[in-house]
Amino acid sequence: MVIPLAWMISTSLKPDAQLLVFPPRLVTSQMTLAAYTRLFELFPMARMFFNSVIVTITATIGQLVVCSMAAYAFARIQFWGKTLLFLMFLGTLMVPLQVILTPLFIEMRILGWVNTYAGIILPTMTIRVAFGVFLLRQAFALIPRALEESAFMDGASHGTIFARIALPLVRPALATLMVLAFMDAWNSFLWPLLVVRDTNMMTLPVGLSALHGRYSTAWNMVMAGVVISVVPIIILFMSAQRYFVEGLARAGIKE
């Protein structure tokens, strides 16, 4: 399971001449940081990293807020047309990106949002809203009725129950969604590629895609880029574990 990571790191440290040596070796005598140095020379890495961070954090927070609210409504509130509306939400996951991107680009141009953060972020989070709503809906649905009924008796509204009772109870699901939403936004490529028109606005995956040429690909630099982009996600995943453990302690199902 750890092999791909070792693999990526190893490839990123190889000099050009050893990239395709077969059979491949994880460790060679000629490890070099050249791919990383050239990456920083060729690309405004700091700027691209900054853009990725802005886009990802905003999209992740937005996703958590929007999805948890809608998911609560689907799970805990009775209203007319719920099933149909939910199906329409899910339907947005069923249309392949390839055909909606061009119309979306035209829409952005009309709005004047081409080459802006808003133009990158809002569609990026919208594309996966339905996924988050579905994930959290399943979690909210598991909350026992008894908990909210006593709150209703005390005169609490749905707003209070959502914020005080429901949200804390689905913390593991929120942590899961946070990691997945972060990962999606961080890696999102096709849409930012279309809507960005300036190197200074490029996110990491977009900027680094220039490493795949017509006649050759600079694998060591590609992997150096991948390593740089994977680290934040792994850190986030490991720190999100705290919430899993917390949830575990509360539920007390250790055998």
Binding site: M1, V2, P4, L5, W7, F22, P23, V65, M69, A70, A73, I77, Q78, F79, L87, L90, G91, M94, P96, Q98, V99, I100, P103, P123, M125, T126, V129, A130, F131, F134, L135, Q138, A139, A141, L142, P144, F152, G155, S157, H158, G159, V170, P172, A173, A175, T176, L180, V226, V230, I233, F237, M238, F244, G247, R250, A251, G252, I253, K254, E255
Partner: protein, 290 residues
């Protein structure tokens, strides 16, 4: 019970999501459906062609082949990834030493880029020097040419996909496991049930709604399988692994046939929708609810 304000609260909670979807999804999705009635190369204005794209599509042998390949992928991938993910999630939910590290290890393939994973597995599946055929040879089996063999390329892609996605399924099931209220287990423990019985009579039923979620999402995603195919075989050898979204991608991005790509998308959408609605109907039979 106080449900008087329900409609007001439903509106409040749903508005942000609906606004986003209306603003950035509804228009483009409708536009792409409308485009299925046009011929459009992106460079010149679209041309109205009526249902010609659909007529062409249903006559196109490539459509049926890629639909067949997509279904093969789903049949091979979905049951395996869910079963394996469930087993690992239950294991990872125990008090294991270095649990965080173990979980992270399973999560690494999920965060790795498809390009890196594909390169790695291409080497593992290498017919001459790859680890897979080496392992098979130890068992006295002479391995196939995998990605170079039309019959074995799809199984190779399925194996790679399962390996990469197990961590994703595990993570979601794990969060489902954590949300099972402790009093259910306490009640079972008082009744003197053993761990296996607790799993089958308490944990599994309560986990069905999370499994249902994973099933729906995996189906929706695997109908749209593309990335791994594109980087591992490009649809080859000789179209043996060509899938539906690859046809959409090729027509939209490479052939300048946006209208035809839209028609394909609409058909794919309809197929996924039917499968999902069927699943939602069926869920009442096996998914535990309050």
């Amino acid at each position: 019970m106080n449900y008087r304000n329900d409609r007001k609260w439903a509106v409040i909670f749903l508005t942000p999501a609906i606004l986003l979807l209306l603003a950035f999804m509804a228009g483009p999705v409708i536009a792409s459906f409308v485009l299925s009635l046009f011929e459009w190369d992106l460079l010149t204005p679209p041309n109205w062609v009526g249902i010609a794209n659909f007529v062409e599509l249903f006559r196109d042998a490539e459509f049926y082949r890629s639909l067949g390949n997509t279904l093969t992928f789903i049949i091979g991938y979905v049951p395996v990834v869910i079963a394996a993910g469930l087993v690992i999630a239950v294991m990872m939910n125990q008090a294991l030493p270095a649990r965080t590290l173990l979980r992270t290890a399973f999560f690494i393939p999920v965060v790795s880029s498809w390009v890196a994973v594909a390169l790695l597995w291409k080497w593992l599946f290498n017919p001459r020097y790859g680890l897979v055929n080496y392992a098979l040879s130890l068992l006295g089996v002479s391995g196939p040419a995998w990605l170079f063999d039309p019959n074995w390329a799809m199984p190779a892609i399925i194996i790679t996909s399962v390996w990469k996605d197990i961590g994703f399924v595990m993570m979601i099931l794990l969060s489902g496991l954590q949300e099972i209220p402790k009093n259910y287990h306490e009640a079972a423990a008082i009744d003197g049930a053993g761990p296996v019985r607790v799993f089958f009579s308490i944990t599994l039923p309560l986990l069905t709604s999370t499994i249902f979620f994973v099933l729906i999402i995996s189906l929706i995603n695997s109908f749209q399988v593309f990335d791994q195919v594109w980087v591992m075989t490009g649809g080859g050898p000789a179209g043996a692994t060509s899938v539906l979204v690859q046809q959409i991608y090729l027509n939209a991005a490479r052939y300048g046939q946006m209208g035809y790509a839209s028609a394909l998308s609409l058909v794919l959408f309809a197929i996924i929708l039917m499968v999902t609605v069927a699943q939602m109907r069926l869920q009442k039979r096996w998914v535990h609810s309050e």
